[in-house]
């Protein structure tokens, strides 16, 4: 239970931090924001890596798929964000 409450505390605080920080992103950057946060949500790759050593064929297959999907998300997300942000120039 303690562990759960600790996790919940982190969750609630992080949501507040997220709201405060992201609220200040101006509308012209909303597409890069979406793709960047998309890349961050690929953080599940860490979860997949964490489980990858638990043994068993099924675990190996599932974590393999999860790692591939999450890495596409991470690399693709950061890649397109970078491409977009490099285009924004001041006159």
């Amino acid at each position: 239970m303690d562990q759960f409450v600790a996790a919940l505390t982190i969750f609630v605080l992080a949501v507040f931090v997220g709201f405060e920080v992201i609220r200040k992103v101006p509308p012209p950057l909303h597409t890069p924001l979406t793709s960047a946060s998309n890349a961050v949500s690929g953080i599940t790759v860490v979860g997949a890596l964490d489980l990858a050593g638990r043994g068993g064929v099924l675990v190996e297959v599932l974590t393999f798929l999860a790692i591939v999907l999450a890495m596409i998300n991470v690399v693709g997300g950061y890649g397109v964000t970078n491409r977009m942000l490099k285009m924004f120039k001041k006159g």
């Binding site: 992201i22 961050v40 979860g47 999907l69 998300n73 006159g91």
Partner: protein
């Protein structure tokens, strides 16, 4: 590596993510922020790889490389006009990964205790909805024909039932853990729910859906964090969840609709006036040459891009026209409606790609007061976001939606292929105003014709 060192590294990664989002508050620092964020991600991945015991190194390495390869390829090959689709697709992959991680965790006997089981189940549901919903969103944005106009009878009831069923399917898991079979049943129901939620949503509501799915992919990652008791997953996931929610709110506000109305409601165009009554004999059109002469005399011009500009890939032709206008001393600015296009900020990216400086691009609230002192407003492939009927408090599907006040400009040029209605399905009285000139053409073709006409004028 000790557990403590790993967690410290995770903390550094989480700080990188937060700092990166903070740096997104300005176009000048945003690109550096993105690099910092990706560094945090790399750090987290490397540390986890070295920390995890008895990894099948070959298998994990090939998975990492395969995903990276596909990611790089997608990031490089996607055209800027395809960004909404790309974001939807990537979102789906993130949701799918969360679903798989939750399933694996359950199978590996990792989920012990009530909270862990519930978190696993929720992670499965949210991950599945994100996965299937995003893939449907991708298909709709790619305009796959078989996804058009699908709204089963009793849509709202079906959606509600599926949601309840997917949650109920978790009960056997809780009563007799781990109940793996029920986890997958619940996820399967949630996948169907995701399909149905998104399939009925119309094109112009896509910005809201993309934001919402983005938020879900973050929530899915955060719930996976609860399953694995990993605080970095929780932090990163909730940041993304918050980001998606903020954008969803902004989009809904810009349409004067509630989230529930966007997701579950259908637009009802039946109360609106008939097209013939609005347009009958009042619509004037002009040729490129006539408009070229008009533009040649204009002191200042405001350009209003809409989805039609993206569809026709006319951003570079637009830049040419703007350059030509600027060369004659005409002041050119751009007005962006928050929901123009298919995702938040879509038009800004499109203009940036054509090398249009971002300080010439203005938000709706900043530019609206300027229309009445503007010689010419050029509307390109936009409709509902400039429909003055939205100023009426009620009686039509877009009543109360904030719009760009283009009708206050001295002359309005509307570049559009026909008088066909926009997403809301209602006629636009703007087209019949005495100061409006219709210019019937495809966006890109029309813009280069205008450019040429201006050269000769």
């Amino acid at each position: 590596m000790s557990e403590g060192a790993v967690n410290l590294t995770y903390l550094i990664a989480a700080v990188c993510f937060i700092v990166a989002f903070k740096m997104m508050s300005s176009p000048r620092s945003a690109a550096r922020g993105n690099t910092i964020s990706s560094f945090g991600m790399l750090l987290a991945i490397v540390v986890t790889v070295f920390h995890t015991e008895s990894l099948n190194a070959t298998l994990v390495a090939s998975a990492l490389l395969l995903g990276t390869g596909i990611g790089v390829w997608l990031a490089r090959s996607t055209p800027m006009t395809g960004m909404p689709q790309m974001v939807a697709l990537l979102n789906g992959f993130g949701g799918g990964a969360s679903l798989l991680v939750a399933g694996t965790s359950l199978h590996a006997g990792n989920a012990t205790g009530l909270q862990a089981i519930i978190a696993t189940g929720l992670s499965g549901i949210i991950g599945s909805v994100t996965f299937s919903g995003s893939l449907v969103a991708y298909g709709k944005l790619e305009e796959w024909k078989f996804l058009e106009g699908l709204r089963p009878k009793g849509h709202q009831a079906i959606v509600a039932t599926l949601f309840v069923l997917s949650v109920l399917a978790l009960l056997p898991m809780i009563v007799a853990p781990p109940g793996e079979m029920w986890f997958w049943i619940s996820s399967l129901i949630a996948s169907i729910l995701g399909v149905l939620l998104v399939v009925a949503i119309g094109g112009a509501d896509m910005p809201v859906v993309i934001c919402l799915l983005n938020s879900y992919s973050g929530l899915a990652a955060a719930t996976t964090g609860f399953v694995l008791n990993n605080s970095m997953l929780i932090i990163a996931g909730s940041l993304v969840g918050a980001s998606g929610l903020i954008l969803t709110q902004i989009m809904c506000k810009a349409m004067n609709r509630s989230m529930a109305n966007v997701i579950l409601g259908a637009m009802d165009a039946s109360t609106a006036a008939k097209a013939d009554d609005v347009y009958g004999g009042k619509v004037k059109s002009a040729s490129a040459d006539e408009l070229g002469m008009l533009l040649a005399d204009a002191q200042n011009v405001i350009i209003v891009p809409g989805y039609g500009l993206a569809v026709s890939q006319g951003q570079h032709a637009l830049k040419d026209l703007a350059t030509r206008l600027a060369a004659r001393g005409t002041k050119v600015t751009y007005a962006i409606h928050p929901v123009a296009g298919r995702m938040p900020g879509h038009m800004n990216v499109l203009l940036a790609e054509a090398d249009i400086p971002y300080d010439q691009v203005k938000e709706m609230d900043d530019i609206n007061p300027e229309f009445k002192e503007t010689d010419v407003a050029i509307v390109i492939g936009a409709n509902d976001i400039v429909n003055p009927i939205a100023r009426e408090p009620k009686g039509n599907p877009i009543a109360g939606m904030p719009i760009l006040d283009v009708d206050q400009a001295r002359t309005v040029i509307v570049l559009k292929r026909s008088l066909s209605p926009g997403f809301a399905g209602i006629p636009n009285p703007l087209f019949a105003l005495p100061n409006t000139l219709m210019f019937y053409a495809d966006g890109k073709k029309g813009l280069s014709d205008l450019s040429n006409a201006l050269k000769d004028a």
